[in-house]
Structures are given as C-alpha cells and as structure tokens.
C-alpha cells in the first residue's frame, strides 16, 4: 500500500518518493512508517504524530492513501 509521510526535520527521506509517498506492506502501523523515515517514537510523540489529521497511537494500522503528519509548527516560513 502507499502512504504519504511528512516527517519533521532531521529524518531520513530516502525511502520516500518526490511527492513524499512510500510503499509499505499491508498491515503496517504508524510505528512502521516512523521506522521507515528514522523518526524515533519519543520525537513522534512530542511532535504529536497524526494520521489524516487525527492524532494517532503508534500502533494504529495504516490504510492505503493515509497521510502521516506531525503537528510541527516550525518550517522555514
């Protein structure tokens, strides 16, 4: 399945395509997505990881088309 991941600064984006989508096996969880971009669980919790705009536990199972994001107010704006 394909999942969009919008990791915060300091993560590894090499597994993401140019539009920030990644292939994950069916049954993958938020934790698996975080592992893919090398985002530690503590950082993810601090930055309030969300799926499709909803704050989510790390063991939430992802579905095709989900967007994993962070409440991260600091970009280069």
């Amino acid at each position: 399945m394909r999942v969009k991941i919008l990791p915060p600064h300091g993560c590894d984006r090499s597994a993401l395509d140019e539009r920030s989508w990644a292939e994950l096996p069916a049954g993958s969880t938020v934790r698996d997505a975080l592992r893919l971009v090398r985002c530690g669980p503590l950082k993810a919790k601090l930055l309030l990881v969300s799926v499709n705009g909803e704050r989510s536990p790390l063991d939430r199972e992802l579905r095709d088309g989900d967007v994993v994001g962070f409440f991260f107010p600091v970009s280069g704006g």
Partner: protein
C-alpha cells in the same frame, strides 16, 4: 441538479431598475461562481476606460459554488469591481452569513451599476427587489447602520436580513475603504467601499429564504462529517501560544519543509489569525518599521502580541456560515487604556502587524481601539497601517513637519499620535484627508516616494517577500496587486497540491535561499498556487480550508459531489487558470500595464537588511521569476498579456461571447 441558482440580479441604481437574468450552464462549468462569475461578467460588461467612481463601474457581490451545499468552509462572499486604487481589477472577500443570503434570494451574484441621486439601499427578499431611501442611515458607521437597519426591518421581514454596508470611509470615497457585514467584519481591499460610496449605496439588505440545493447532498455531508470529526478530535496541550515567538526565531533559519496542513486548523481554531503575530515578528515574515526594520528594533514585542494575551479577554467565539473552526471572536475591552468601546472583534493578524510592529507601536490596547475604529468606519487596516508608516518615516526624515501634520509629532511608536491620525483619516479631516486615499496618492502629493510601500497603487499585506520570494511574485503578478492571499511558499508546503494536480511540483525540503532563484519549477509552483486560490474563490472557499491541504479539505470531491461532475484535479486547476487569465485580461482591457506592478525597492532588499533572519537577502532574480510565472500561465513573458493561443486554449474567446 447543480448548486447554482442559474440566475444573477442586475440593478441600475441610476434608474432604480432591476432584472433577473439567466446564466447559461457553460459559464458555470467554465468559471464556477464567486470570483469566477464576477470575472466573466465584469470583463464583458465594464467598458474600457470606465471611471472607477463613475456610473459605468459595476459593483458585484457573489457567493461561491459550494455555498449552501453543506460543504464546510465555504461561506465566503466576494465583492469585485474596477478598483479606484489600482485602476484595474479589484476584489475583496469576507465571511459571515452574507454569502448564503445571496443564494437564498435566488441569485448567484448581484451586479450594481449606475449612481443613485440620493443615498439608497438595495432590498431583496427573494420575491421583491427594491432600491430604497437610505438617508436615515447615511453618516452612520457600518456597525450603527447595520443595527439601525435591523431595528427597522427585523419585524417587517419574514427572516432576519443579512446586511453588507459601508461606513464613513466608503461614504467619503476613501480609496482604501471596504464593505462590512456582521458588525464590522470587512471585505477590505481594492477600494471596494469607495465604489459603493460613489454609487450612494449605503447597504445591500438580503432577506430571502429560498432553499439552496446541490446534486448529492448526502455525499457532500459525508465529506463534511469526515472533516468535522477530525477537527473536533484535534486537541493540543493548552498554553502553547507562549512558545510561538520562539518558534518563529527557529523558522527564520530553517529550510522549508513539506508539512501536514492540518496544523493550521488547530492554530486558527485556538487563536484565530492573531496566532501569527509573534511568530511573524521573530521569523522575518512580518514587516517592522515600515518594512525597513529588523526584530532587533522591536525586542520583546513578540511577547506583547502573544496570542494568549488576546485569548484571555475573549468572551465568545464565532463562526462563519458552514465553518466548524470558528477563528473569529469577540473581546471584552471595557475600561482598557485608549478604548472607548466595550467590545471589539478579535483583531486579525494583519491589523495587529500593521498597527503594531510596522509602526513600532507596542500598545495592544491601542490596537483594540484602532481595530474597532477602522472596522466601524470600513477602512482597510492593511492600507491604513502602511500609509501611517509612510507618514511617520517622512516625518522622521523631515519631508513632513508639524506644519503639514496638523501639529502631530509623528514618531515611531507614538500611540497617541497614531490614534489621532487614524481618526483624522476616517473623518477626512486636515492632514488625514491626504492619507485617506492610500500611500501612493499621499506620496505623490508630499514626496517621500521611496518610503511609500505599494504595488501598483495598493499597499501590500503584512508578509515580507524577502522572507517568502513566492509571495513577492504574487504581489506583482496578481491582477489585484499587493494581495497576500494568493500564495506563499509555506502554504504550498502544507497543501500537497501535487496530489491532485499532475503538473504541480511536489513540495520539497529545501533551503530558503533556493526560492530566490528563477527556475521553471518555481514558476510552476507559483502558477499552481494562483490557480488553486482562484478555484477556491470560485467555490467560495475559505483560505484556512485551503491551507489545511487537499487531504484534509477535499475541494475536488466537494465540487464533484455538489455539481454531479466527475472531473479530476487537473480540470479544476484549469478553471482556476481561466479565472486568473480573465482577471488579467480585465486589466489589459482597462489599460493597466501588468509590467508596471513592481515591488518597492525596500522589499527587494535594496539595500539589504543589516541583521535578523532577512540579513543580506536581495531578490535579485525577482523580475525573472515574474516573467517565468507569466510564461507558465501562457502569458507574454515580457508584457504579462495573455497570449491569443492561451485565450483560445482556455475557451475564453467563446466564453466572453456568451451574453445574458
């Protein structure tokens, strides 16, 4: 069935006559409603060279396509006309309840031409249309006029009417005046209030109760339920606002990052747009000292304008029509310094920035007073703040003296002088009269043009192009120049437009300096931003929905469900492209040279700032970026004029032959 009523109302105020006209479906399919419908009508009906304050100018009020369908965040109404400020396309929009009121009278838009002999207001309840005497309301501020009209009409109408009206600024044809509703909420930009005042039209009163429909209301509701559930669940620890200023300090130095736009929903729900103030002060986004200062000049001011301070005196939140967020609020300001009112709307970011850091004014209490004064008068706080900033800088350099300023010592941060000057501008009294038409006219009269911050005659919104070069492109390439709502780099990074549009470049992690470069990718980014914003305007959408991103606020799905269409994102982006090209053609028809819109030297970084997050930044490739933006749109990259093949490709040649 679609969401469109299929009708517009045309009113001639000179003859006091009105007629309802049917609009062919192909027009809606080409431009939706809202700003798109206005662009089509005004381009074809305002003659070239029309006096913006004369009878030939047409003032349009329109609801968007999705208004009344059950789609969330689609309650904006747009007013458009030939702008007296720029001489070209002018528009402004606002929330509240006025947009659905247009549709409940049975129309998608109302177009008013001519000039009334005496002050009038337009009354419409879905059955009758009348141009009525407004002499009893002329001279009242917008909030007083609205209250008086409610007092006189509420018992007479079957439904409590919705009212858009002008205050003293519009009556006195201040070129920086807007149109108000809901007790001082204002569609502020482009001098639309002056056009309404020139027509002697005090108010538009709508009391219809016709049903609003769409193709598949259940599908629309399902999308809204999904969005509403997410927004309700969205909670963060309280008190986070105190860290926003510190966040801004980091932002000023970090690279751009594609983000989850849903964060913006939380910020606007919790604090409103004022959440941005302390962040803007420290990050380089917000202008300081008439765009010539740095955060060093306003140390600790980010703490003064911390959003938690304002939230503490908020007594109630309010929502626009079909909005689950509620970014608006009422504040209890009784007994505060400088304040003569008991309550005011929660000031928007633009207002706080324009009368705070831009003027080096650290008094939050004075902002409340200025906010209420300007909202009631119906004067644009962005333009007014920029104009006062120019006056202060001219005073500093001896271009203005107390002889011209009626004895006012216009120094930075002089709160009393700022308040007095704004009151004079509203009343068009003494020196204030010269400033009531904006900074371009004032500087043409007194000098100090190097300190006059405007683009094509309109003062820029409170965001710095040196911090966001994409915004700099929109400031000058936008047919209504100086508007900050068309696109920004940080917004592009949050919207994921590449997931609905095949040609929109993906947002990437990249250093800010890269956005200073003139590249084909950058041109496609600014084009995508502008096209999507025009689509949102045609739908009557809220920019805060737009900022949440396409995965959160599913605009394409909403339109397909509401209209029974099955188009993809590329098709809808082309609608946006068509609307933007029509607006550009409007300017060309009216003799406005798109290449004459230029960023002020100061905003180009000439000379560069000596410190802070924007230290040393110069937009040396800005003109090239604008040319590339025009080329991406299929407009002449030297003149900005849409090419004949583009006009044909977008079907504008056929569209403009459709008559009503």
């Amino acid at each position: 069935m679609t969401s469109f009523t299929g009708k517009i109302l045309r009113v001639d105020l000179g003859t006091r006559s009105a007629e309802a006209l049917s609009v062919p479906p192909e027009v809606y399919e080409a431009v939706l409603a809202g700003k798109g419908l206005e662009a089509w009508y005004l381009y074809t009906h305002i003659p070239a060279g029309a006096d913006p304050l004369g009878p030939e100018n047409i003032l349009a009020f329109a609801a968007g396509a999705l208004c009344g369908t059950g789609a969330f965040l689609t309650g904006r109404w747009t007013v458009a006309c030939k702008s007296p400020l720029t001489g070209g396309w002018g528009d402004a929009n606002c929330g509240g309840l006025f947009a659905p009121a247009i549709k409940q009278c049975g129309y998608d838009a109302i177009f008013l031409s001519g000039i009334a002999e005496e002050p009038v207001y337009l009354f419409c309840d879905g059955k009758t249309v009348e141009v009525r005497d407004a002499s009893a309301y002329w001279g009242l501020d917008a909030t007083e006029a609205e209250a008086a009209l409610h007092r006189d009409l509420d018992g007479v109408c079957r439904k409590r009417p919705c009212i858009a009206c002008i205050g003293q600024a519009g009556e006195k044809r201040s070129l920086i005046s807007g149109i108000c509703n809901e007790g001082g909420r204002i569609a502020a930009r482009s001098g639309v209030g002056a056009v309404m005042g020139s027509k002697k039209l005090k108010a538009v009163v709508l009391a219809g109760s016709l049903p609003m429909r769409c193709h598949d209301p259940e599908a629309v509701k399902a999308l809204s339920r999904e969005l509403g559930r997410k927004l309700l669940k969205m909670t963060l620890p309280t008190g986070l606002g105190v860290f926003i200023g510190a966040g801004g300090r980091m932002m000023g130095h970090l690279p751009y990052l594609p983000m989850d736009g849903s964060l913006t929903a939380y910020m606007f729900r919790e604090w409103g747009t004022q959440a941005n103030t302390s962040l803007a002060i420290t990050s380089g986004d917000g202008p300081i000292r008439n765009w010539g200062g740095t955060p060093k000049d306003v140390r600790r001011m980010d703490a003064v304008y911390n959003p938690e301070h304002i939230n503490k005196i908020e007594t109630a939140k309010y929502h626009c029509y079909s909005c689950p967020l509620g970014c608006g609020g009422k504040l209890n300001i009784r007994g505060r310094k400088y304040v003569g009112f008991d309550e005011t709307h929660k000031p928007e970011y633009e207002t706080i920035e324009a009368f705070g850091p831009l003027l080096m004014n650290g008094s939050l209490d004075s902002i409340y007073q200025l906010n209420e004064l300007l909202n009631r008068a119906g004067m644009d706080t962005i333009s007014a703040g920029n104009t006062v900033a120019w006056a202060i800088e001219c005073f500093e350099h001896g271009i203005l003296t107390t002889e011209q300023t009626d004895g006012l010592a216009l120094t930075w941060g002089n709160t009393e002088a700022i308040l007095t000057l704004v009151k004079k501008m509203i009343a068009r009294e003494g020196f204030g009269d010269a400033l009531a038409d904006g900074v371009k006219r004032a500087s043409e009269r007194f000098g100090g043009r190097e300190y006059a911050m405007h683009i094509g005659g309109q003062e820029p919104g409170m965001h710095d192009a040196r911090n966001d070069p994409q915004l700099g492109v929109h400031f000058v390439a936008e047919p209504a120049p100086g508007k900050h709502t068309v696109g920004m780099g940080i917004e592009y990074g949050a919207m994921s437009l590449c997931d609905i549009c095949s040609w929109a470049p993906p947002a990437t992690l990249h250093p800010k300096a890269r956005d200073l470069e003139d590249t084909e990718t950058m041109a496609l980014v600014t084009k995508a931003n502008a096209c999507y914003t025009m689509l949102v305007d045609g739908a009557g959408g809220c920019y805060y929905g737009q900022m949440m991103g396409v995965h959160m606020w599913k605009l394409v799905d909403y339109i397909n469900a509401a209209e029974g269409w099955h188009y993809d994102g590329d098709h809808y982006m082309e609608i946006g492209e068509r609307i933007q090209t029509l607006r550009q053609l409007f300017n060309v028809k009216q003799g406005v040279d798109p290449a004459s819109f230029k960023l002020p030297k100061r905003m180009l970084g000439e000379p560069p700032l000596p410190s802070g997050p924007l230290k040393g930044v110069t937009l040396s490739q800005h003109r090239g970026q604008v040319s590339s933006h025009w080329r991406a749109f299929g407009w002449d990259d030297r003149t900005g004029v849409p090419l004949p093949e583009t006009v044909k490709k977008l079907g504008i040649d056929r569209l403009t032959e459709v008559s009503v």
